[in-house]
Structures are given as structure tokens and as C-alpha cells.
């Protein structure tokens, strides 16, 4: 599964059905669940960014929390200090994190695999400190954080949660389509060529530095948009909330969902939002069961044993197997 899927009729129908279902979903479930689904999509957008960077371009990052935070704070600051509306602020968050990612991608060109991971790791660990830094306090609110009110409903009859859900859904679908288009273009093939064999790619005339830094920028931009959506859901940003663990979360979701895929991002988002609650319930069944996060750790290990290519990879294989069974 190293290439994005071709659009088969089955895939297209499946995609449209899923979107259709997603559209009616908020009216079937509570506001709280809608809010959770919005959180899942915020993560999903960030994970899609990581899929593009790591899955399709082979660059490691365990520091996406920094770009997530850049988007979250970017949006919050524009709303709080520049009086921007929530939707313009998402654009600001996107732009801001793209530039940030692109600039980070420049020195990252010299670092391979492990060392890139370290650099991104350093970035992630430094982010909360930078956000808390006294000199920036007037902008970032320091340790007190910034309160961001949820955007008012776009349509009458929708609750604020539902409205935000639709915004997130629209953004998610849009970004997924864009990603598919990019991956099927020359640039996409260049990205994957770099992943598979950088030396051959360079020999073929691909401009490695440009492609790699741009990919970094795009990936960071997605993470930033996810961060902005996340902020609107939680209505609050504070520095310590964007620590290294967030980067781990994004990585975990990407891999569990299927890092070399586009739909994997959604499954990853759903996994990191809903599985901790499942773990909580499991943990409460008997006192001899360890605490929720230990149970979650077990889930992680079991999932990756059974679906080594992520949940989407598992679905694809299941579909292929079913097709074979039905054909013969």
C-alpha cells in the first residue's frame, strides 16, 4: 500500500456514502458525541498531515505537536488580539503553520531519519516552554492561556457544536480530496520517489530540497488547521496542553489508522478520541484490571499486531479477500 488508491466505483460509492452518513450523524447523536467527533476530525486532519509527510514522503516527525500548537495559538491570537472571525483565523492558522513548517523543513534537509526525528522531538519538547516564555506573554497569555469562544452556529437550528462539526467535516473532506489530487500529480509522484529512493529521485531531476520542504510545509499546515479546529472545540488554549505527548498521539493515530493512506487519518482520529473512553470502561469492570491508560497501551499493541498496515490497511485487505472469495 505505497500508493494512494485509484478511484474505483466501489471506493467512490463508499466515500460518498461515508460523507452522507457523516452529514446526518450529528442529528442522530448527542451534542457531546458531536463534539467528540469534531475532536476526532481535528486530530484526523493533523494525522493526514503526518501521513503525507511520513507515509508518502518518508520524512519522520515526532514533533507535529509544535505545528498543531502553531495553528491552535495562531488562530487564538488572531481572534483575541486582532479581532478576526473564526473562519479567517483558520486561514491564518494554516498560513502561519505552513510557513513555520517550510522554514523548519529547510535545516531538516540535512538530517536523515533518526536525526530528523530528534530535531522534531526537540521542537515538540521546546514548544510549551516557548509558549510560556515571559517575553511572549502579551501575545500568548502565558500560563493563563487564551479563552476562545466557540464560533456561533452558521445556520439557524444548529447548535454551536453541530455547526463546528460541519465546518470540520467540510475541511476534512476538502483536505482529503486535495491530498488525493496532490498525490496523483507529478509532485505526488516526486514525493513518493524521494521516499522510495532519494538518490534515484535526484538523478531523475527531482528538486529534492524544494519537494521536501514544501511537503513539510503542507504537512505542518494540515497540523495547524487541525490545531485551530481543536481549539474551537475545547474553547481554551494553554501551553502545557501542547506537550510532546500530543506529538506521540498524532503519530500513534497515524500509524494505527494507516500511515500510508488518506482515509487512515479518520480512523486514527476516532481511535485516539474514543478508545481511551473504552479503556476507562474496561478498567472499571473489575478492580484487578489496571488503570485506563495501561489498558489503552494494551489496545495499541494488540491493534498493531493484528493490523500491521493500520486499520485502513486492514479494511483494504479485508475487501480484497472478500473480492477473491466472491470471485472464486
Amino acid at each position: 500500500m505505497t500508493r494512494p488508491n485509484r478511484i474505483t466505483p466501489a471506493l467512490l460509492i463508499g466515500f460518498l456514502a461515508a460523507v452522507g452518513f457523516a452529514v446526518i450523524l450529528p442529528h442522530l447523536v448527542s451534542n457531546f458525541t458531536t463534539y467528540q467527533l469534531t475532536l476526532a476530525m481535528s486530530w484526523g486532519v493533523a494525522m493526514l498531515g503526518l501521513n503525507v509527510l511520513t507515509g508518502y514522503n518518508g520524512q519522520f516527525s515526532i514533533g507535529h505537536s509544535a505545528f498543531f500548537a502553531a495553528g491552535a495559538y495562531g488562530a487564538a491570537i488572531m481572534i483575541e488580539h486582532a479581532g478576526w472571525g473564526p473562519y479567517e483565523a483558520i486561514a491564518a492558522a494554516a498560513g502561519f503553520s505552513f510557513i513555520f513548517g517550510f522554514l523548519f523543513g529547510l535545516p531538516a534537509l540535512r538530517l536523515e531519519g533518526l536525526y530528523l526525528a530528534l530535531a522534531t522531538f526537540g521542537l515538540a519538547v521546546a514548544t510549551p516552554q516557548l509558549l510560556k516564555f515571559d517575553a511572549f506573554e502579551d501575545w500568548t497569555g502565558g500560563v493563563q492561556g487564551i479563552f476562545v469562544p466557540k464560533p456561533a452556529p452558521l445556520l439557524e437550528g444548529l447548535s454551536a457544536d453541530q455547526s463546528l462539526y460541519y465546518v470540520a467535516l467540510a475541511i476534512m473532506v476538502f483536505l482529503m480530496v486535495i491530498t488525493w489530487c496532490i498525490l496523483h500529480s507529478r509532485s505526488g509522484r516526486a514525493m513518493m520517489a524521494i521516499r522510495d529512493n532519494p538518490i534515484a529521485a535526484r538523478t531523475m531531476g527531482i528538486n529534492l530540497p524544494l519537494v521536501k520542504t514544501t511537503t513539510f510545509g503542507i504537512s505542518a499546515m494540515f497540523a495547524g488547521i487541525g490545531g485551530a479546529l481543536f481549539t474551537y472545540s475545547s474553547e481554551f488554549v494553554s501551553p502545557d496542553a501542547f506537550n510532546f505527548f500530543i506529538a506521540v498521539y498524532i503519530l500513534v493515530g497515524s500509524v494505527i489508522g494507516g500511515i500510508v493512506s488518506i482515509p487512515g487519518a479518520i480512523f486514527g482520529g476516532l481511535f485516539v478520541v474514543f478508545m481511551p473512553h473504552v479503556a476507562e470502561d474496561v478498567s472499571n469492570i473489575y478492580t484487578f484490571i489496571p488503570p485506563p491508560w495501561a489498558v489503552f497501551g494494551v489496545f495499541l499493541i494488540l491493534v498493531i499486531y493484528f493490523v500491521p498496515f493500520g486499520i485502513w490497511g486492514g479494511i483494504e485487505r479485508l475487501a480484497a479477500w472478500t473480492k477473491r472469495k466472491m470471485a472464486g
Binding site: K132, V143, W293
Partner: protein, 406 residues
């Protein structure tokens, strides 16, 4: 009266009564659901003990049949406590789950400053009582802007001011060094202290060093502070780092006026690991409002005996030296007092009851410190007393400092 009229009247009365008690989410005739978030995982998980104490407290009462409340009904109290790992976005999610999915009537003793900050506006927008927050930040007592949020313990900035006053009074030529945790809690203490120093702050403070809760040790900071020639050390750290700092100060023979924040004043959780002899030699000073469970001078008081017996029965494995057990017990006792004396269990009714506590003494609070609230005073406990560590326990001195004027 005609039979049909009688029946109709009775039916109406029954319906009215049923709807009246079914009005408040989370309250029925025989149960009341209360929500709580605590850090049971992550960097602040040592405070998870407080949440566990609540669970034990109310389990005991429920097993004995429930609590008779001010409206005459006896109800079981179900405290649903969820882990937020001290992460504000997670707190938002868990509190929304409690309010919107579990349908709790109110929240109680939610822990942490950044975590409570994240849900502050939500709780007030949803008009859900957000009571007795387990944090000493100063922003929880503003009923004019946030009528649904009420603090609990003496606030950090007031405590910081107490230390500043003490340092100014007792040290000639004070040269002050401050070690503080680089977050809401640490900065609240630091700012309260600095504010009380007024315009002398710039001259008197020679070193102000932060640390992150993820740092392995604060040894380097202690070395730097000692080298700066400071003779006053305001130590705003959580138990792990407080113990490290005290121990290091002894190791390098640095003996400043050592002001230790109340958060880390527990003999069992901080001073024993640091070393009792070492702590004594540092002449540690702290401001207290709780009875330290390891202090023999309280052993004969009713409050202590009550708590001790309760611990023996309900949490026999609990570490007596950990003051969090006393904190949790106090908070639950306060909740019990409010519920027992409340006649109106609608959400505004519960708020009104909470804002009407008069001179209530908690079992594990210093004698003379009472809980008082009113519609304009949302700071239940505002008094503290200074004490000095003598190698075995904290010895109180001076007067109770009451900071009721906010």
C-alpha cells in the same frame, strides 16, 4: 370533597412533587450525581489520592444508607470521578462528558489550576455549580462575573503575601531567591509574593528561577541561588522538587530563611524524603490551614480522632503522613455539610446553599479557622497560620492571619 376531585387533586399533587424533584439534572429522590476530575495519571498524579479519598468517604456513607439532606430526603451520593491527566483539553472533554452524558448535578473539588481554567467559562455558561475547586488560584472567587464557580482553599497569592511580609519583617537586608514551577500555580504564588513586596521587589529579589515539571532535578537551580548570596529562599515547588531542593540546600550548607509553600508542607510526602534532620536545619517556615496528620498535638482533638478512625476503617493502607488524605476528607466533609443543610436542590438552590456557610469548622483544619461564604464571598477558607518545622512536626506560631478582605 367529591371522590373525583380528591383523586384529581392527589394526582396533581403527586405529579407536581415528582416534577419538582425531577427538575434538576442529576438529582432524584434517592440519589444525587456529582462529577469530579482528578489527575490519576500524568505528572500531577500524586494528587489522585484526593479523588480516591472522596470515593472512600462517600462509599462509606452510601453503604450506611445515604445522607439525609436538608429537604428531608435521604439520598445516596454518587461521585463520578474521571481522569484528566492534568491536561486542560482532556478536562474539557471529561467535564462535558460528566455534565452532558452522565448528567451530574454539579462538580466538586475538581483539581488543578490550568485544568479548572479550561472549564471555567463552560461551567458558568451551562449554569452548573462548579464547587470547591481543589486549587489555590485567586481567580475562583468572583461571584459577580462567575456566579457558578467557588473556590475552596486559601489562595496562593494571599499565602505568597504572608511570606513576603514575614521576610520583610524578620530579615535585615533581605536578598530573596525564588524557585517556582513554570505554570499557573507557580506564577500565582510568585506574583502574590512580588506584589506584596511592592516597589522594593526589584531591589530585593536577586534570583528568580523556574523549573518544568518534566525536569529531572532542580539541583542546578539551588546551586545558582546559593551562589547568588540570597538569604531568603521562597520555595514554590511540588513535593518531589521541594524535597530535592531542601536536600540540596543541606548538602551545600546553604541556610537561608527557607519559606516553603503550603502545597509541599506535608511531613510524610516531602520532609521525610528530604530528611527530617536536614529539614530542621533549614528552619523551614510554611503557612498552614490544615492539621498535619503526623503532628501529635492534634492527636486528642475531636477532628483528628474522627479522621483517624475513618482512615483506619476506610483507607487503612493510606499513608498517614500524606496530607492529601486530610485535604480530601475536609473537602468531602464540607460537601456533606452543604448537602445536609440544603433544602433546594435545583442548581441555583445548590449554589445558594454553598454561598451560605457560616462559621463551619472542618475536622482537619487548624482550630480557629472556619469556613465562611456569602453571596459576595466565594472564598470559603481564607485564613492561615505560620509554622516552623522543628525536626518532628510543624510548630505554629503567631496569630491566625485572616485575609477575608478581598
Amino acid at each position: 370533597m367529591r371522590l373525583t376531585t380528591l383523586m384529581a387533586t392527589t394526582a396533581a399533587a403527586v405529579l407536581f412533587a415528582a416534577s419538582a424533584s425531577a427538575q434538576t439534572v442529576g438529582v432524584t429522590d434517592d440519589t444525587i450525581k456529582i462529577g469530579n476530575t482528578s489527575p490519576y495519571s500524568g505528572p500531577a498524579s500524586s494528587y489522585g489520592v484526593i479523588g480516591k479519598t472522596h470515593q472512600a468517604y462517600w462509599k462509606a456513607i452510601n453503604e450506611a444508607g445515604g445522607l439525609k439532606m436538608g429537604d428531608g430526603k435521604t439520598r445516596k451520593v454518587e461521585i463520578i470521578s474521571l481522569d484528566d491527566g492534568y491536561s486542560p483539553p482532556k478536562t474539557v472533554e471529561q467535564v462535558r462528558k460528566l455534565v452532558e452524558q452522565e448528567g451530574v448535578a454539579m462538580t466538586f473539588n475538581t483539581l488543578g489550576t490550568p485544568t479548572n481554567s479550561a472549564i471555567h467559562r463552560y461551567m458558568n455558561a451551562k449554569k452548573v455549580p462548579h464547587l470547591f475547586l481543589a486549587t489555590g488560584a485567586s481567580k475562583w472567587g468572583h461571584p459577580d462575573k462567575f456566579p457558578w464557580t467557588m473556590g475552596f482553599q486559601p489562595t496562593y497569592d494571599v499565602e505568597g503575601a504572608i511570606y513576603a511580609a514575614y521576610a520583610l519583617k524578620n530579615v535585615e537586608n533581605p536578598k530573596i531567591a525564588i524557585l517556582f514551577q513554570n505554570d499557573d500555580y507557580g506564577k500565582d504564588y510568585r506574583d502574590g509574593f512580588l506584589k506584596a513586596l511592592g516597589d522594593k521587589a526589584d531591589k530585593l529579589v536577586v534570583k528568580m528561577l523556574p523549573y518544568e515539571v518534566t525536569d529531572p532535578t532542580v539541583d542546578a537551580q539551588v546551586l545558582e541561588m546559593a551562589a547568588s548570596g540570597a538569604n531568603v529562599f521562597f520555595n514554590v515547588t511540588i513535593p518531589k522538587f521541594a524535597a530535592q531542593a531542601i536536600k540540596k540546600a543541606c548538602e551545600i550548607d546553604w541556610k537561608p530563611l527557607h519559606l516553603l509553600n503550603n502545597v509541599s508542607s506535608s511531613v510524610g510526602a516531602t520532609l521525610k524524603p528530604a530528611g527530617l534532620e536536614c529539614s530542621k536545619s533549614q528552619g523551614l517556615i510554611t503557612a498552614q490551614w490544615l492539621k498535619d496528620p503526623t503532628d501529635p498535638q492534634w492527636a486528642d482533638t475531636d477532628g483528628f480522632k474522627e479522621w483517624s478512625a475513618w482512615m483506619d476503617k476506610n483507607m487503612p493502607d493510606g499513608d498517614r503522613g500524606d496530607v492529601n488524605y486530610a485535604f480530601g476528607y475536609n473537602a468531602s466533609t464540607l460537601l456533606k455539610h452543604v448537602l445536609e443543610n440544603c433544602a433546594d436542590f435545583s442548581r441555583p438552590g445548590i449554589m445558594a446553599c454553598a454561598a451560605n456557610i457560616k462559621d463551619f469548622e472542618l475536622p482537619m483544619t487548624l482550630p480557629g479557622i472556619k469556613v465562611n461564604t456569602s453571596p459576595t464571598d466565594f472564598y470559603p477558607v481564607q485564613a492561615e497560620q505560620l509554622s516552623k518545622f522543628n525536626g518532628e512536626k510543624w510548630v505554629l506560631f503567631g496569630e491566625i492571619i485572616d485575609a477575608s478582605s478581598h
